[in-house]
Point group: C3
Chain length 362, copies 3
C-alpha cells in the first residue's frame, strides 16, 4: 500500500562516519557501529552520548555507550575516565555535534508520496507529486502544497493557501484561507494559523467586529509547537520570521511581526501589533500588551508582563511590569528585607523618644 | 459542484453608497468606486481608510486611498492635508463606520447549502436545508443545525446538540453532547464546548470524579477565539451571554455564568462557578479562583489574579491579588522607592547616634 | 445501526439501593425512587442532593429533592429542617457518597462495539473486538486498542501506539507515534500526547533541533482536560502517573515525571525535566522552570512561579518566585504598609531635626 511509513533500513554508522559528519577527531575504535543516541546514564552498546562541559566528564565513569562526544581537548581525560567507552569523538561544540548526529541516526519519519483516498481536495488545488496527504485531510480550493511536504491525518487547509516544500503538518492542524507557509516548516498537532484577530468596536448596542481581512506569513525553517494559535492580520499580515521556533500553546495576535531566529517558550501570549525583532529569546507565560517593540537581542524572563506601547531594549528583562534583571533582583532583595526595615524603624523611634526625654530632663 | 465557495461578484461601491450606509457626510468626489479597506499608510486606489483622532489627521498627508473617513467637523481640515484623497466622509464614530463599511466591502465567506458526502450524520439529526456541512464533519444523533449555519471541515458535534441559525463553526471544533449554541455564533478553530469540568472527591485511595452532568449554553452573537475551552456545568449549566466576545485559548470552568457584552482577552483562566456580569472587560492571562462575582462594569487588567470567593466591584482592577488600579500604581511607586527608603533609614540612624553622642558630651 | 449510543433504560433506583451502594443509613421513605442528582437549590422530585457541612443544613429548608445525603449524626436535624424531603441518608463523607451515587444514576455514555466505516485503520493495528472506533478516526500501523475502549470522531492515533482497556478518547485527540496509554484513561477533546519537546542548539547560523526521540507513558486512571499537551521525552520518556488528574490547556514539557494522584489545575505550564512527586496539588496558571523537583505532598498556589532547578519541599507555596504561604502573606502585609512606613520615616526625620535644633540651642 502506498502512503505507508517507509521501513528504512536501520541506520547503522561507524564512529568514523559520524565524526566526519561533524568534523570531529576520533580516538579509540573508529570502526565500531552506532545506531542510536542516548544519555550518559542510560546508554548501552550501540549508543552515542555526549558531554558538553569538561567538568561533567567524571559522570562518564560507568557510561556504557559505544561512543562519547566530548569537548575539544578533553579526549585524553575522557579515555581515562570513561573506561568502558571504546570510542571518543572530540568536537568544538559537543551538544551541537550530538544534535547533528542524532538527525543522521534518527531521520525524520518519511512517507511515500500519496494522497489518501479519504482526503478531500478542492477544485484548483495544486498538490506536488511527491507530497503526502493523509486520511481525512481537507485541502481547500486553489491551494498549493509543495514537493516533499507531508500533511498528516485530520489537517484542514483552507482556500488559497500556499505551503512550501518539505513541510510537516502534524494531525488536526487548521490553516485558514489565504495564509502562506514557507519551506521546511513544522507545525505540530492542533496548530491554528489565520483565525480572526480579536478586534471590536463598541457602540451603545454592543460590539461590532473590526475587520480581520489580512493574512499570515510563516517563513522558512519555522517550527511551531502543539496548539499554538497565530491570528491573521486585521489589515496587512502577521509574520513569523525565518528560523523562529515557537513552543506549545502560544498566542500570537493580529499584525504581530516576529523576526528571524526568535525563540518563544510555551504559553506566552502576544497581543496585537507587537514587533519582536531578530534573535530575541522570550520565556514561557510571558504576556505582551499591544504595540510593543522588542529590540533585537532582548531576553525576557518567564512570566514577565510587558505594558502596551513599550520599547524593550537589548538586555535581560524580568518581572511584571518588566525591569532590567539586576533591578528586579535588587528590588526583590529590598522587599525581602521589609520586616527588618520595619523593626529598625521601630527601634529608631524608640531611640528618638529616649533622646527627647533626656534632652527635656537636662 | 455544490458546497464550493461562492465567487461573489467583486464588491464595488461608490463613496456615496458607503456614506449612506453609515449616515456620513461626503465632500469631494462622491461617485468614486471603493472595493477594499486599508490602513492610512498602505492604502492605494480603490481603498477606504479612516482617522479616529483629529490629531492624527497630519498622518494622512501622503495617503493614497480613494476615500477617508474622518470625525465630524474634521472634513475641511482633512481636505487640506490629505490632498491625494479624492473623497472624504465625515462620521460621528470613524472607527465604527469603518468597521461597518468593511463588512459591506468584505462580506463573510459564504457557502452554498450542501452536505459533503464524507460528513457523517447521526440518526434523528435535523439539518436545515440551507446549512453547509463540510468534509469529515460528524453530527451526533438528534442534533439540530439551524438555517444558514456553516460547519467547516473536521468539526465534531455530539448528540442532542442544538445550533442556531447563521452560525459559523470553523474547522476542528468539538461540541460535546447536549450543549446549546444560539444564533449568529462564531466558533473559531479548535474551540471545545462542553468537556467535563474539573471536579474530584479525594478519599484514601485517590480521586473520584465528581459528577459533570450539566451542560453549556452559548447565547446569540457570541464569538469565541481559537482553542478556547468551555466546560459543561457539574450540575446546571455554564453560560456565555449574548454578544460576549472571547479571545483565543481561554479556559472557562464548569458552572461559570458570563454575562452579556463581556470581552475577555486571550489565555485568561476562569475557575468553576465564577459569575462575570454584563459589560465587564477582562484582560489577557488573568486568573480567577472559583466562586468569584465580577460586578457589571468592572475592568480587570491583564495578568491579574483574583482570589476565590471575591466580589469585584465596578472600577478598574490590577495586580495579584487585584487592587484598584490607583492603589496598585501607588504601591508600585512605593516599592520602587525602597532603595531610597533604606538609605534614608540608614542616614537617620547615623543622625540619631550623633545626637546621642552630643547629648552625652554635654 | 451499530455504533449508536445505547439507549439504556432510565436509571431509577430506590433510596435504599443507593444507600447500600455507599454504606449509608436511611431515615424516612427508603422506597422512594431516585433518577438523577441535583443541587439543594434546584432539586425537584426524583433528585438526590447532598449537604457536606452540618452548618449548611439550614439551606435545605425549601429543598424539593426526594432524598438528601447528610453527614453522619445530622440525620435528625435534617429531618427537622428539610421538611419537604421524604428520605435522608447519613454518610461519613456526603460529597464522596454523592459522587459515587452520581456514577450509578448517570453512567458514562457507552457505545456498542463498532468500527465506523469512515475510520482508517493502519496495517498491523490490533483493535479489540469490544472497542468503539468513531467516524473519521485514523489509527496508525501496529497500534493496539484495548477492550472496551471508545475512540470518538476525528481522533488521530499514530503508529506503534498502545492504548489500554476502557479508555475514552474524546474527539480530535492526537496521539503521536509510539506513546503508551494505560487503562481507564480519559483524554478530553483536543488533547495532544507526544509532540516534540522544545529543544534546540544554537550556532552562528541559527537553531538546530535537539533530538526528540523519546516517548510518553500515561498510566492507569488518568484523566486529562481538553487541549492539554504532553510532549514526548527528548531521550527517555515523559510520564503521567497513575490516578493523576490534569485540567484543561496544561503544558507538560519533555522528560517530565508527574507522579501518582497529582492534581494540576488549568493552564499550568511545566518546562522540561520537572519531577512532581505523588500526591502534590498544583493550582492553575502556575509556571515551572526546568529541572525542578516538587516533593510529595507539596501544594503550590495558582499563578505561582517556580525557578529552574528548585527543590520544593512539602508544604503550601505561593508567589513569584514561590515562598511558603505564611511568608508570602507576611511580606504582602508589609508591602501594604509601605505608605505608612514612608510617613513614619518622614515624621521621624522631622523629630530628629527638632531635637538637633533644641540641642544646638542649649
Amino acid at each position: 500500500m502506498t502512503g505507508m511509513v517507509m521501513d528504512e533500513p536501520k541506520q547503522l554508522k561507524t564512529v568514523e562516519e559520524l565524526a566526519a559528519l561533524i568534523g570531529g577527531r576520533v580516538s579509540g575504535d573508529a570502526q565500531i557501529g552506532i545506531d542510536h543516541i542516548a544519555n550518559i546514564g542510560t546508554a548501552t552498546a550501540g549508543a552515542i552520548a555526549f558531554v558538553e562541559d569538561p567538568k561533567a566528564l567524571e559522570s562518564t565513569q560507568d557510561c556504557a555507550a559505544s561512543a562519547l562526544i566530548v569537548p575539544d581537548g578533553a579526549g585524553e581525560r575522557a579515555r581515562e575516565v570513561a573506561r568502558k567507552v571504546p570510542a571518543i569523538i572530540e568536537a568544538a561544540k559537543p551538544k551541537l555535534a550530538f544534535a547533528l548526529i542524532a538527525s543522521a541516526l534518527h531521520p525524520q519519519k518519511r512517507r511515500e508520496p500519496f494522497i489518501h483516498p479519504t482526503a478531500v481536495i478542492g477544485e484548483g488545488a495544486n498538490i506536488a507529486l511527491t507530497a503526502y496527504i493523509g486520511p481525512h485531510v481537507s485541502i481547500g480550493e486553489h491551494s498549493t502544497i509543495g514537493t516533499g511536504t507531508r500533511i498528516e491525518a485530520g489537517v484542514v487547509v483552507g482556500d488559497y493557501v500556499t505551503i512550501g516544500i518539505d513541510c510537516v503538518l502534524h494531525p488536526n492542524v487548521t490553516l485558514y484561507d489565504g495564509v502562506t507557509i514557507g519551506d521546511n516548516v513544522v507545525l505540530h498537532a492542533g496548530v491554528c494559523v489565520g483565525a480572526d484577530g480579536f478586534g471590536y468596536v463598541r457602540d451603545d448596542v454592543g460590539y461590532h467586529k473590526f475587520p480581520q481581512v489580512g493574512t499570515v506569513v510563516i517563513e522558512d525553517d519555522v517550527e511551531i509547537g502543539a496548539h499554538t494559535c497565530i491570528d491573521r492580520g486585521s489589515l496587512g499580515r502577521t509574520r513569523i520570521g525565518r528560523g523562529t521556533k515557537l513552543d506549545n500553546q502560544i498566542h500570537v495576535g493580529h499584525n504581530c511581526d516576529i523576526g528571524e531566529r526568535v525563540v518563544i517558550a510555551a504559553q506566552t501570549g502576544i497581543s496585537g501589533s507587537v514587533t519582536i525583532e531578530d534573535d530575541c529569546v522570550i520565556g514561557g507565560q510571558v504576556g505582551f500588551g499591544d504595540h510593543i517593540r522588542v529590540q533585537s537581542g532582548a531576553v525576557i524572563g518567564s512570566k514577565a508582563g510587558v505594558l502596551p506601547g513599550k520599547i524593550v531594549r537589548p538586555g535581560v528583562w524580568w518581572g511584571i511590569p518588566i525591569q532590567p534583571l539586576a533591578d528586579y533582583k535588587r528590588l526583590n532583595a529590598h522587599i525581602g528585607r521589609l520586616p527588618e526595615m520595619r523593626a529598625e524603624l521601630k527601634e529608631l523611634r524608640k531611640l528618638v523618644k529616649e533622646l527627647e526625654e533626656k534632652l527635656s530632663a537636662k
